[in-house]
Amino acid sequence: MQFLKLTLLALCATTLAAQVAPNPVNPNPVTPNPVTFDRLVAADREPQNWLTYSGNFAAHQHSSLNQINASTVGRLQPRWMYQMRTTHKGESTPLVVDGIMYLTRSPNDVIALDAATGRKLWQFDYKLPPKVIVCCGQVNRGLAILGDRLFMSTVDAYVLALDARSGRLLWKTRMANYLEGYGSTSAPIVARDKIIVGMAGGEYGARGFIDAYDTATGKLAWRFYTTAGPGDPNAASWSGDSWKTGGATTWVTGAYDPDLNLVYWGTGNPGPDYNGDVRKGDNLYSDSVVALDVRTGERKWHFQFTPHDVLDYDATETPVLFDAEYRGRQRKLLMHANRNAFFYLLDRETGEFLLARPFAKQTWAKDIDAKGRPVRNPGTTPTEAGVAVWPAATGGTNWFAPSFSPQSKLLYVAARDEGEIFYTATSPYRPGDYFLGGEHKPVRGEFPTGAIRAISPLTGEIVWDHKLLTPPWAGVLSTAGGLVFGGTNEGNFFALDAATGKDLWHFQTGDKIIANPISFGVEGKQYISIISGDVLIVFGLPE
């Protein structure tokens, strides 16, 4: 039923999209209408807008606009650019609401731009304390919106609400102590009257959690800890007190099913990353997806992809939701292209494992058994002398977005074929200091490669494979124009044929692309945007 609904919505959206209708309610692009929760649920009905981090709650990262398509994409050209002037990495996915683009600039500034011209409307500058601890750059990956409020979490572990009309700070709530390595880099999700927020700090022995805050007041509604401590039925999956510093952080945005009122969130690797001797057991709920009841934060189910991980295979990649008939029965499904290089299909009502199949080069698992548990290959546990394992710690894919097209019914994934040598070392826990238990280094002489791969979700089969020179760090966007957009480390922003993977268009942006593309429309014109380096580039067809 849900699938039918989504299909119908997609069809409606496609029809609408044919003209990229200007916002019928409010033609003045500098005064957006409040974004109600109903608008967020039915985001697919507003293809001219990009209302959530992943475009919709199901995390499809898909646009039903089709003005830019296989016949017109060859004429695509930059329409405007915005220079962020930051030395930090540009990994943000903007929101677009009724002609206004809301963009975060790393670490935690927010900028509102006229989406048609790129001219700035307002800017919010966030001051960070001097000693912020984050493993992989002070970045922010995006915002959430509800009503006329924008929500952002910060690298020094606060959650903020801003007035979308002015950028004025409305409330600020502390999540955790940043001096102990806690922080947040991902976009929140709005779920009814709450915002759901993930956190980072897995390299510092942080204890993972997922938080829900009241959108009106900023008050913490609930917290779900992702390492099972005393009282949790899975507490025995950690030896001793290792759950206290066990990581399993939640640093990438999840997905949400408003009908089931469940939020689905991926969790990171257990800490210390490479030395599992000090945390014997499966280490639940690390490297898992957890389904949480939005009302209470209670865990409905969990599925662990990599039990007792020692290779840094976070399962934080965004889960993607869709409905389809599987083995003769209509099911609510969840797809996960995991950092451990396997694609998984789960039942999202129950967490039941349905299938797994590799989508990138891997040597760590011989097989995934009938219950979804990996059968490991011998000699793939890190040692002091080092062992070479595929995929690398950076994974078969990583935080950047996959995309599902309701049209082609394919999942598009930016895949990485790279191995690494994994070493162990002992590193005792010290608050705010690295807690890794080892290290990883490139395999000498290897020139790692990458690809955009189209996966058939009901079989895990790779339908096409578009090779890339090096392992990508950019997400993908599929569109109803039959295109898949992606970016390369060498700066090329490109469009592929969504059915065949054929290269149709590319543009050299001049810097590494480590962001997700999105599409939106203003005044009847479709645009595609991407960040390259610290420059946001918006592409459109010539006038």
Partner: protein, 259 residues
């Protein structure tokens, strides 16, 4: 030698011996051994198990251009060296201090490493063998002389151990630095180009040929292009043992500190 000269030399030698003794003693202590563990796990991959160098610089010379003091060394390990393959370390500070101790002991061990050849004779071998066709050396702050197909050699003696230099001359294919990988490109018209791969993306390839001419190709215009597994530098194993030793001594003597 005057008495003063003899005394000075004796004091220097004694200091050196004491310093070596202290470094060796420290290296053998539990803290030193812990530092060794960290070194093997985190550094040996590039700098070699004994600090002899590889992708990373030779650590056995005891002279590091960015690190005069232990605090400098700690900082370099923490932050990495921008623009090079040396990454920042994620080890806790206390562990890096142990690492610094171990690296210092490697430096002390190598302080006695001395080439057996004659550096002045090696300079002639360098000239007569045509090394300067591809490599450059800057002398006394003057203009760098030589080609740019291979790495500049101004500070090669600081960066590479004697063993590494010998291996690189005799079996250059064994290790090719990432920025000196060769490539071939054949156009659809049948023209073949071979040279240093300067840059590449999914759609284009840039190279410098043996005559130092620059080329940029659209991949769609090429019939074939291939990254070379072998070095652009030929083997110099055919040199006489004396010439080879002299050449190594010359290369080892190139220790420009500002490079």
């Amino acid at each position: 030698m005057t008495v003063v000269g003899w005394w000075r030399q004796a004091v220097t030698t004694r200091r050196m011996v004491l310093w070596l003794w202290a470094a060796v003693a420290l290296a053998q202590s539990p803290a030193g051994q812990q530092g060794r563990q960290f070194y093997l796990g985190h550094c040996a991959h590039c700098h070699g198990p004994d600090g002899e160098g590889g992708r990373g610089i030779n650590l056995t010379t005891g002279q590091y251009r960015l690190s005069r003091t232990d605090d400098d060394l700690l900082r370099v390990i923490q932050t990495g060296v921008p623009g090079t393959e040396m990454p920042p370390s994620r080890l806790p500070v206390a562990d890096i201090r142990l690492l610094v101790t171990w690296v210092r002991s490697l430096g002390a061990a190598g302080a006695l490493e001395k080439a057996t050849g004659d550096a002045a004779a090696g300079a002639l071998v360098y000239r007569n063998t045509g090394c300067a066709r591809c490599h450059s050396i800057q002398v006394n702050g003057g203009q760098a002389k030589g080609g740019s197909l291979g790495p500049p050699l101004d500070s090669i003696g600081l960066r590479r151990s004697l063993k590494f230099l010998r291996d690189a001359l005799v079996t250059p294919d064994a290790y090719i630095a990432r920025e000196y990988v060769g490539t071939t490109a054949q156009t659809k018209a049948g023209q073949l180009f071979r040279g240093l791969r300067l840059n590449e993306d999914d759609y284009s390839l840039q190279l410098r040929d043996a005559d130092e001419r620059l080329h940029s190709f659209r991949k769609s215009s090429l019939a074939e292009y291939q990254r070379l597994d072998s070095s652009l530098m030929p083997s110099y194993g055919k040199l006489s043992p004396t010439d080879l030793n002299n050449l190594i001594a010359y290369l080892s003597s190139l220790r420009a500190a500002n490079k």
